[in-house]
Symmetry: C2
DNA sequence: TAAATAGTGTCTGTAAGACAGTATACT
DNA sequence: AGTATACTGTCTTACAGACACTATTTA
């Protein structure tokens, strides 16, 4: 494939803003909602040197065919080749968010199952880590990344109320009690078991995947396992879990 | 205020994508949902010359302090100084959507009351017009604007199910029957009067603004008029009008 | 009084929430 | 048997939808 960049004499001579893509990567681990952060490189010329930031960086017009491709590349570089749930959150752009100049970032958020050790090991040289999402909000993140993270958290928690999104935060096949636990971690409140099961099963977006294989020392009745019928999109429920509390954007 | 553009030696030397802002401007007029389109300029060097397109254009880093400011400027240039409901829809960027090069657009959508003649007259030299939204979808719009319009329509119709957004499509003060009509136009289906009134009044986001002034030839019982308590944001309802049908993004 | 529009009351269906109960495994 | 976990049934409550009813205006 030829280079995606090509000099075009029709292109206007406007000064162009810096264009970046950032990814808010969520996972549920140890009873908490976690987010992946990377440490900004040190150096006097570096903006926000040494600060924690969302994974991301400049769009490379020679490599990235689209913003989505760019987001997938950033994910791959930080976590290895995975195919998570990935959705655009929005874009943030102004004259002051990056000291290097007028900058606009296209922000995505992604959901992956609880990170294995392998995922972290496949990261490149830069320091990366999983942080509790609400604690990360209170860190002094680079750029306006605290704002992006807050927006991603609001969007995630809002959509969890009426979609099957948490199924992307868990390894397949999964049991309903395990899925319920993920819902409870993301929402930060307990959910009634009976209502939860009715919703999930009536939704029709899962299919049975056999009884859970018995493990040593496993107590209690074995559970049915399920897998998503369509991993390409989340299912919608006719009503929310509770009354809606917060909006997801703007 | 000094120029927002400043050469910065720390800025990376990456080739930068073209950065634009487009606005999907909605209004309800003549029992239909309308969208504002502008005709692309003619000329061999112009991309999509003569085609209808969404109002928008390049971010001007010397003038626009932020993407939102840029969107407001585009609106002002097309429709005169108005303060509509304005919300970001998302961003679209790839190597091929603009023949002039790798391009990313930040797309907003806005709601304004039924356009008066003045609004159209205040437009600049370029040809502008209001088109039926669904008909505009089937036009061969410039760039990927048909896709942006489809996304805006989906988002609007989705949010109308559980927010007070249509109140921004009507002049204040308004009557409840008039507001119901706007809901029905946007949703494309009738709504039950009783349920509608209960929802709106229980929402608590409107305040009474006196009885409608009698007009000549006006038939029937006069209606109470209302105005929004807070024009800066839409209110959310605890449940949707019907079962949710479609998602708003992704 | 008739027509037109505004606004209310009442019944019903649906689904979520609460919670008690049953089922199936292990020690 | 006892305990732990998985799963189900039943009652209640909240609210949207349907639709018939009342209220207030003009012609």
């Amino acid at each position: 494939m030829a280079s995606l960049r090509s000099f075009n004499p029709r292109a206007p001579s406007f000064p162009r803003p810096l264009t970046t893509v950032d990814v808010v990567l969520f996972a549920v681990q140890d009873d908490g909602l976690k987010v992946l952060l990377v440490r900004r490189p040190d150096g006097a010329a570096e903006p926000f040197a040494g600060r924690w930031a969302l994974p991301g960086g400049f769009v490379n017009v020679d490599v990235d065919a689209s913003l989505l491709d760019c987001a997938l590349r950033k994910l791959r570089e930080k976590t290895g080749a995975i195919t998570p749930y990935l959705e655009q959150l929005g874009s943030w752009g102004n004259a002051t968010r990056d000291p290097r100049g007028w900058s606009a970032t296209h922000c995505f958020y992604a959901l992956v199952p609880a990170p294995s050790v392998d995922l972290q090991r496949s990261a490149n040289a830069t320091e990366v880590g999983w942080f509790d999402a609400d604690a990360a909000l209170r860190k002094r993140l680079a750029f306006d990344h605290a704002e992006l993270l807050a927006a991603a958290l609001a969007r995630l928690r809002s959509k969890v109320e009426y979609t099957s999104l948490p199924a992307f935060l868990i390894e397949e096949p999964f049991t309903l009690p395990a899925l319920q636990h993920v819902y409870e971690v993301v929402l930060g409140r307990p959910v009634d078991k009976s209502a939860f099961r009715k919703r999930m099963l009536d939704g029709g977006f899962m299919e049975e995947a056999g009884m859970r294989a018995a493990e040593a020392g496993q107590l209690g009745r074995p559970a049915m396992t399920y897998r998503l019928r369509d991993r390409s999109q989340a299912a919608l429920f006719p009503r929310t879990f509770n009354a809606r509390g917060a909006d997801d954007m703007g």
